[in-house]
């Protein structure tokens, strides 16, 4: 295998892991915001200010 293969694979795998971290952060944040909104809508909101 050429050295180019190892360089390309390193950058691609790094990009995938970083993209996974960003995606996880966005999805998780949206899920919590939605859950808080649902609790608010049911009148449970104590001081559920969204961030």
């Amino acid at each position: 295998m050429s050295h180019g293969f190892f360089i390309a694979l390193s950058y691609i795998l790094t990009a995938l892991v970083v993209a996974g971290l960003i995606l996880r952060a966005v999805v998780d944040h949206r899920m919590q915001v939605r859950a808080l909104a649902e609790l608010d809508a049911r009148g449970v909101g104590r001081r559920s200010r969204r961030g």
Binding site: F6, I7, S10, L13, V17, R24, R49
Partner: protein, 248 residues
């Protein structure tokens, strides 16, 4: 110290981090763009390794972040156990998956760099093995967070494990000096100054700062989400108690 005490209020932290996050993330993207441009268009090939040295520009920042996030977790563990800072365990929990991800990147890119340079993907030398131990500690910490449901109990258990695992940080850093390893000795953060030529050192430092800002942005975002998750948990318990009281 006063600032850390002021940040103990989660609402204040949410407001401050909400304002800070877009700037940190924006700066990270800008620096990452600049760093990648330097790596691919201005940094010269190494006289021995040729273009394969380009792996260094992601491998070294990932290794740095692996240790950086462990130090954040160890400081947060002290914050949880000693000062009982309300955001310390939030910080610790948010840092663990980021640190684990960068440790994985470090190991994988190191392996892919090792094959063409050393002729092998893996060698049980002190640096590689201690880095693998670091990944296992991160995974153990992540598993412990999931195993204990009550956040305060989980935080105390994780803090103890984190502080025990901190012994591995100096071993990773100094393994190349203490033992005879296949991995090269330190060439950037060393007493006598960097041994890398500025044409490679500058892109490497730009990439390191970009990775650090990216990690900090992810950490802030993770802490904000964790605060929301705890609000959801508290309100869900309150709702269940209210329903129980109505039924009784």
């Amino acid at each position: 110290m006063r600032m850390i005490r002021e940040l103990a209020n989660p609402t204040r932290f949410m407001s401050l981090s909400g304002a800070l996050l877009p700037w940190v993330a924006g700066l990270a993207v800008l620096l990452l763009g600049a760093g990648l441009y330097m790596v691919w268009f201005t940094a010269p090939p190494d006289y021995q390794q040729g273009e394969t040295v380009k792996i260094m520009y992601i491998h070294v920042p990932a290794a740095w972040l692996s240790l950086f996030f462990y130090m954040i977790m160890a400081s947060s563990a002290l914050g949880t156990l000693v000062w009982r800072h309300p955001l310390a365990d939030v910080s610790q929990k948010a840092a663990a998956p980021i640190g684990a991800a960068f440790t994985l990147i470090c190991l994988v890119t190191g392996s892919l760099w090792g094959k063409p340079m050393w002729g092998t993907y893996w060698q049980w030398d002190a640096r590689l093995t201690s880095m693998l131990v670091m990944l296992l500690i991160y995974l153990g910490i992540l598993a412990l967070w999931r195993a204990i449901e009550e956040p305060n109990r989980a935080a105390r258990a994780v803090s103890i494990l984190t502080l025990v695992g901190a012994v591995n940080v100096p071993i990773v850093k100094f393994s190349v000096d203490w033992w005879n390893t296949l991995h090269q000795p330190a060439s950037v953060f060393r007493l006598g100054g960097p041994t890398i030529h500025s044409s490679m050192l500058v892109p490497l430092l730009v990439m390191a700062v970009a990775f650090t800002l990216m990690g900090v942005a992810l950490h802030l975002a993770g802490m904000r989400t964790e605060i929301l998750r705890r609000r959801v948990r508290t309100l869900t318990i309150l709702e269940a108690e209210r329903l129980d009281a109505q039924a009784a």
